[in-house]
Structures are given as C-alpha cells and as structure tokens.
C-alpha cells in the first residue's frame, strides 16, 4: 500500500476525514433512531462507502451539481447539506431539506449543488444528462455527477443516458458505486460485462476503476474526470469498488453475503485507512483528529435535537408544492 498523499493539502485531507466521519456517525444515528421508531418509512445506510461520496464531492466546486440515489445521505452530506436539515427530512419535518415531503431517499439543496435524488434505480442518470446539457448549452463551465449503484448499470436508463451524454459530449461524470450487491444479487450474476467499467467502451468514453475505500484515489480519479468534463472533453465512467456494511435497507433480508467477505471489507474501512495514513505521514495528530471526531458527534446530536423539535407538515402544507401556481 502506498502512503503517497499526492500533494493534497492538509486542509483538504482533514476536510475529507471530517466529512467521512460525519457520514459514519450520521448513519449510525439513523440506524439507532430508525430502530427506536423515531424515523419513519424506508432508509438505506451508506456506512462503509463514505470514501466514494467524499472523494468525488471533494473534487467538485460548490456550483457543480450532483444527482443521487435512494442511498443518498452520504452524497448529500459530502456535498455540503447541513446535517440538521438532512436529519429533519428523515424525520419528516418541515425544516427538512425537502420540507418533509421527500424523506430519506430524496434530497434537494441547489445552493450547495445537490439538485435531485431519485429513488428509482437508474432514474437519475438521464436527468443528470439533461442538467449537463443545460450547462453546455449555456456555455457554463459547470460539471454534473450522477451517482448510482452496480444494479443501475443493468437498467435501460443507464445505457440510454451514457450513449446520449457521449454523443453530445456533455460535462458529466458517471460514478458507479459498485458495492457488489443489488439488494441480494451479486454483480457476477447480474452483469454480463466482465467488469462494469467495460461498459464505458460501448459508449466511447474513458472508464476508470478505483478503490472506493481509498478516498484519495477516488478524489484523484474524480478530479481527472471532472477536469476533463469541465474542459469540454465529455463524460467519464468511474467504477468505484466499495461495500455496504449494513443490509440493503434497515432490515436484515437474509443471508446472501459470506461472513468473511463482510469482515474483510470492514477491515478496509475507508475512514480508518485515511486516519492511519494521516498519522503515519505526520500530516495530522491524534489530538487534531480526535477533535474532529468530537465535533462530528456533537453535530449529529444537534441534528437529532433539531429534527425532534421541528414541526411536522400537515396535508394542507404539502399540497402547496405540487404545482407552480
């Protein structure tokens, strides 16, 4: 393993550490509060995959847009959504990022570049292409990132969208978070291509495989793809290999993954990996990192308090957001 930190600034590295830790603690709290019955509905945890969201979003400008999925808390936090507003959304409160109308699977905060999360697998990908088209038509140098999982690469939407983005040479980066399972189905059973990244060849765009648990590697791959897109050179497909520690959602769905596989991936924790590197390289001290850990715990507690104390929307309130009148 290399400990080269690629000349990235301490500020950026600590920010990436902080954001990954924020996602981790946020998600642990979501599990706890879901089980306690405080969070209603459906939720999907991002624990274990933090390196992908944080690595990619750290390579973006604030005015670049991301589109996310049902497993989107990590993307939202990595792009800069206030954890209070995200947690309030999960609680179904008026102060939530979508006023309690979206819930766990939907997040929109254009101010920080989170434009939309679709809870239909593959659904955001063609929409992301349209956002990139708008940027290109207006000659803006902004970039779009579409996040999706391995399962989405078997939807028609993925294929139509990658084709169109390539034909029109749009400023977009497709980030496949390959966590190897579409709910229970292993990627080797679901996917005819030998590697997901091979699909980039069909669409005449660069395909890059990256260790999704190495936030620095993700950052570097994303930065290159974003730079390419910003220069008008077209889309890239990044396959970031990672693993979800939790089940698909909040419930145990049965045994479909070998125990030792889960254990192996937990040993490759993206947060611990970065922490060890920062310490070994002398880039940060235990004290500095511990203080970030404490800051995160405090922020998540604050998010829970905020969510609990916020008001719930009623039917009349939600009705006003269906149409522009």
């Amino acid at each position: 393993m290399t400990y080269d930190l690629d000349g990235l600034s301490k500020e950026l590295l600590l920010d990436m550490y902080y954001k990954m830790m924020l996602i981790r603690r946020f998600e642990e709290k979501v599990v706890e509060m879901y089980r306690a019955g405080e969070i209603p509905g459906i939720a999907h945890g991002y624990i274990g995959e933090e390196g992908v969201a944080v690595g990619v979003c750290s390579a973006l400008r604030r005015d670049d847009y991301i589109l996310s999925t049902h497993r989107g808390h990590g993307h939202s936090l990595a792009k800069g959504i206030d954890p209070k507003h995200l947690m309030a959304e999960l609680y179904g409160k008026k102060t939530g990022v979508c006023k309690g109308i979206g819930g766990s699977m939907h997040s929109t905060e254009p101010e920080v570049g989170v434009i939309f999360s679709s809870a239909i697998v593959g659904g955001n990908i063609p929409i992301a292409v349209g956002v990139a088209l708008a940027f290109k038509m207006r000659r803006e140098d902004r970039v779009v990132v579409s996040f999706f999982g391995d399962g989405a690469t078997n939807t028609g939407a993925f294929h139509e969208a990658l084709n169109l983005a390539s034909v029109w040479k749009l400023p977009i980066v497709f980030v496949c978070e390959n966590n190897f399972y579409a709910i229970s189905m292993h990627v080797s059973k679901s996917t005819s291509a030998k590697e997901i990244v091979d699909r980039a060849v069909s669409y005449n765009m660069p395909g890059v495989v990256v260790d999704g648990n190495d936030v620095i590697a993700v950052y570097n791959a994303a930065a290159a793809a974003v730079n390419r897109a910003r220069k008008g050179e077209g889309p890239t497909l990044i396959e970031a290999r990672t693993y979800r520690w939790l089940d698909h959602g909040m419930y145990y769905l049965g045994k479909y993954r070998p125990e030792d596989e889960v254990v192996m991936w937990k040993q490759k924790c993206p947060i611990r990996t970065l922490r060890d590197r920062l310490l070994i390289k002398g880039i940060a001290t235990e004290v500095e990192l511990n203080s970030l850990d404490e800051k995160v715990v405090h922020e998540v507690d604050e998010a829970i308090r905020f969510a609990r104390e916020s008001a719930e929307p009623d039917l009349d309130f939600v009705k006003q957001f269906v149409y522009v009148r």
Partner: protein, 329 residues
C-alpha cells in the same frame, strides 16, 4: 380583412417558433425533428432557422429524451421534447410517471420542471395496436403534470404557448388526424389559459363533452341535429389537468343531458371521470342517464373496417342523442 387560416401543424410550428424567439431558454429535442422537420413535419424549418443546438435530433431513446428534458428543466432551461407516438411515451414511463410530475413536489417546492413533452396519437392511421393508442385518462390520473388535448389550430397554438411559458411540466397530446385540419389563427400573439374549457357550440337540449378529435365529430353532428330541431352544446375541455369542472357542470345544469364522445377506451377513460363529476355535482339536473361513446375496450385493430367500427363516430353520436332526448324524463 378575413381571419388568417392555418393548419393545426402550422399553428403548432408557429407557437414553437415564436416561443423560441421570445425566450432563448426554449429548445426542442426529439427523434427526427431536426433535419427532416419531424415525421409529421410539425418542426419543419426550425432546424434551419435555429440550428442543431436548439433543434436537437436525438437517438431513439425515449427514457433519455424525457429524462434529459427534465434535467434541463430543473437546471433552468425550457425544453420541448417530442415523443413521436404516444405509444412510445411509455418507453419513458419511469421518467414520465415517477420523475416528471414528482420532482417539484419531492423537492419541497425548491425545483421547477418547466418541460413540455409533445406527443401525438395516430387516429385513423390504421397502424395497429402499437401506433394508435390514446390513453389520456392515465396521465390525467397522475397529479403533478398538466395535460393538454387541443382540437383546433387556434387552441393548439394558444395552448402550446401557454404550456411552454408555464413553469409546470406538461404532456401535450396532439392528434395526427388533425395536423392538416385548417382553422382561423390570429396574427397577433395570444395564449389560452390552461384549465379553461371551451364551449365550441352553444345549445339548450344536450351537452356533448367531446375530447380532442371528437370535437369535430360533435360539431358536425350538432349541425345536423340542429336541422332537426335539437340544440346541442359542445364542450371541449382543451386541458385535462387542470380540468375545468365549472364549464362542464354549468352546461349540464342548463341542458339536463350529457353525452360523452372520446377516442380513448371506455373503461376508466376520461369519460368515466366526466360522468362521475356530473353525477356528483349536477345529478339533480339530469333528465336522462349519462351516455358514453368511446373506443371499444380492445387494443386498436389494424384492419380498417374493424378499426373504424372500434371508434365512436358521428352516426353513433346522432342516434345516441336522438334516443336520449326521446327517453328523457
């Protein structure tokens, strides 16, 4: 000076052109709409005038077309996407149903989706069951998007301009059998507010609620019935969402009779909703049962004789109205 006449297709083209000149956020995309001006020639000449950036030929990728229209719309553009046949709209079903009408709402009102999806249904084209479908009731049943069904050149232009200017998503359903129909279209700029039905003909004895192409059938029938002393009012809803209940209910209260004629299927069709509205809001005024004339509940057949019989027509409408008047309370 006589009022200028245009075909339905020309009126649509004029609406697109004027809105493109008026607002540079407006652009078009769809299959074969550019170089050849569309298979129905609605966009003819626009590619030459506005160029390939604003009149974009797309691959045969309905999901990507509607999805990209949604994406461009939430990012501040005003796309008008064309889906060549209404049958193909459901190739993009996920984008049409799960995304287009949901995004503004699910974002807590933070986003707007000012996209127009233009499509057409191919009445009397004898093109079998995958190129002849018209299922407006399904779209009317999904809250969050507007649905327009213009029947005349005048309405086509005014409604399309409104749909483009409005900041909600629209499914704009044209009828291929109307593209060459001519009608008066004024020179000056005008729009038709969404959600206003049009009384296409006033009458006292019976209300005919006619949908899209059937407006012309109803008007022709009304003319003939008038010669026999039956005064027929013809209501054209023009938009299904928003739906103008008031004009419908007021008309039925006046005439006491309602006949619905629609080129979509009868079961759970638009007419079913119309009948339910009248039963809820004007029951006491009815002098006779509501009559629905609709397409049979079978997929559209190819063979012309069977196809013609599958649709309602003027003859069926006239005999239904005569029977209704005879058997009224």
């Amino acid at each position: 000076m006589p009022v200028r006449e245009l075909t339905y297709a020309e009126a649509l083209r004029e609406a697109l052109r004027e809105e493109m000149l008026r607002d540079d956020r407006v652009f078009l995309m769809g299959e074969d709409i550019g170089v050849i001006g569309g298979v129905f020639k609605v966009t003819q000449g626009l590619y030459e005038e506005f160029g390939q950036e604003r009149v974009r030929d797309t691959p045969i990728s309905e999901t990507a077309i509607v999805g990209a229209a949604i994406g461009a719309a939430i990012a501040g553009m005003k796309p008008v996407a064309e889906i060549m046949y209404m049958d193909f709209l459901m190739c993009a079903g996920d984008q049409v149903i799960n995304h287009l009408p949901k995004i503004r709402y699910m974002s807590g009102g933070k986003l707007k989706v000012p996209a127009v999806i233009r499509t057409q249904y191919g009445l009397y084209r004898y093109a079998a069951a995958q190129h002849s479908q018209f299922y407006p009731a399904f779209l009317m049943n999904i809250p969050g998007m507007y649905v327009e069904v213009p029947s005349t050149p005048y309405d086509a232009k005014g409604l399309l301009k409104s749909a483009i200017r409005d900041e909600n998503p629209d499914i704009f359903i044209e009828c291929a059998a109307l593209y060459r129909v001519r009608g008066p279209v004024p020179d000056e700029d005008y729009v038709i507010p969404l959600g206003q039905a049009d009384v296409k003909r006033e009458g006292r004895d019976v209300t005919v609620f006619a949908l899209s192409y059937m407006v012309h059938v109803a008007l022709s029938a009304a003319q003939k019935l008038g010669n026999e002393g039956i005064s027929t009012e013809v209501i054209d809803p023009r938009t299904l969402n928003p739906f103008d209940k008031k004009t419908l209910v007021e008309s039925v209260k006046k005439t006491g009779r309602l006949v619905i004629i629609e080129p979509d299927h009868k079961t759970a069709g638009v007419g079913a909703e119309v009948a339910a509205i009248v039963a809820e809001e004007a029951y006491d005024y009815l002098k006779a049962p509501i009559v629905r004339l609709a397409a049979d509940d079978i997929p559209p057949p190819f063979a012309p004789k069977a196809y013609n019989a599958f649709l309602p027509n003027e003859e069926k409408l006239i005999s239904s109205i005569k029977k209704l008047i005879k058997h009224s309370k």
